[in-house]
Amino acid sequence: MSHVLIIAEHDGSQLNASTAKTVNCAAGIDGATITIAVLGSGIDSVATQAAAIAGVSKVITVDRSENAQPLTANFAPQIAELAAAYDCIFGPSTTFGKDLMPAVAALLDTEQVSDIMEVTGPRSFKRPVYAGNAILNVDVADGAKIVATVRTASYKAASDGGSASVEAAASLSAVLPDHSRYIELQSEAGERPDLQTAKLVISGGRGVGSKENFDIVYKLADKLGAGVGASRAAVDAGYVSNDMQVGQTGKIIAPDLYMAFGISGAIQHLTGIKDAGTIVAINKDPEAAIFEIADIGLVGDLFEIIPELEQKL
């Protein structure tokens, strides 16, 4: 029997889909009982959403004003204290979880398994290394707590239909430091589907050429109800904002359909899309590396192809 504690990711009102994906990963551990911890301020509705995930037996909340923003300096000591009663402490491999979980691991004097992509035994996992060019099998020693992040692109979200109990955590004694202060979040997130959960993603690279030219990518995406992504080169050049970067150091995504326009297919980009159902590549260079992994390739000029697609679809 393995008691798993999952740290919920949320924005104060909505539970992030990464949480239900992390639950699905934890459910792969034989005999796991799953508890979700929600830290925040005014989080009743988030706790209700967490309790509705199938397979979750309990939701514990730590509701206090200091938790209004997810600062690792504040969250980690509270989670380390909650962790006493659990064998495994899992978080999503999103920027939230990547920032937080190693701090939790260090407080527990435990090593961390990053980016679990498969559970292969009660204490055994697969994880990608070298930008996904190799897969490593790791075993965690008996007796050690398992602190891990879960590669969300490897898991579908656990379904709804659960009815876990929700209770406030017993008061914690962890002393919170005052050396870190949250200032603000600058977000350009608009109406388009979130990259990490979108079923269709349209991406543009350096080949799109400018911020203005990206409008044709948005137009096609909006016609299809798709999320919009980009290569690092497109972000660096200022065509789009950083949260749209797909790849090793951006978002790892798994849409049913990924369409890449003017992206060459550097390995750091490809590692972010390997789990896509179907990859379509449009590039004017027939030798572009992206064609090696694309399911459907079309050689041509994106400035002709995108408008034609938009018109005909």
């Binding site: 920027t95 701090a103 070298y130 790791v138 075993d139 965690v140 870190s180 064609f291």
Partner: protein, 249 residues
Amino acid sequence: MKTIMVCLKRVVDYNVRIRVKPDGSGVVTDGLKMSINPFDEIALEEALRIKERGEAESVVVVSIGPGDCQQQLRTGLAMGADRAVLIECDTDISPLIAAKVLLKQVEKEQPGLVLLGKQAIDDDCNQTGQMLATLWQRPQATFASKLEIAGSVATVTREVDAGLEIIEVDLPAVVTSDLRLNEPRYVKLPDIMKAKKKPMETIAIADFGVDLGSQLTASKWEAPAERSKGIRVKDVDALISALKEKELV
């Protein structure tokens, strides 16, 4: 501040395509081009800029690894670091152990700022900076794309999934670099010559008294699953019918 400490890891160059050994005992690294982890090069560049603005007196680069890491440390010195410390270690160590060892060096150096890369592109762990900050009981600001220092406070812009998050941390602190923090300078030949005269200290990892035993065992490496070979279509109409066939549009 007096000192900025920058951690440099020696890794297989990001342009090299890695292959798994047929027996699954690791990846082939013999004879491959080795470099400073790209994120660490960015971290060092940032430290140098802070020093050049007059906000720090010196920059020390630290690496844990085999004797060959001297090459990467020398490159760091040629970029402009003042001193290098090689903590010699012939086995792979996990981020937690690296953080424990780096903490001992931090205690010696008493830096006002420690800069690391957000992740090493070999193990892709993304842990060491966060662990070091936690063990040191000092603030962390990860995935930095902008770093401003005013007296004893750093304001850091962080690249997060939802956009850009801004936090303020008291110094000393640990900051990990993201790609857009800066573009590292090129090393010029005269700087390489000058770097040969800069001090490089070597310490055996055993001298730090940190238990190197790990709770994690790497049992087997595998090649990733290949995607099956795709098709080429000749025009937009053929693309649309291929997508319709798969019921994707």
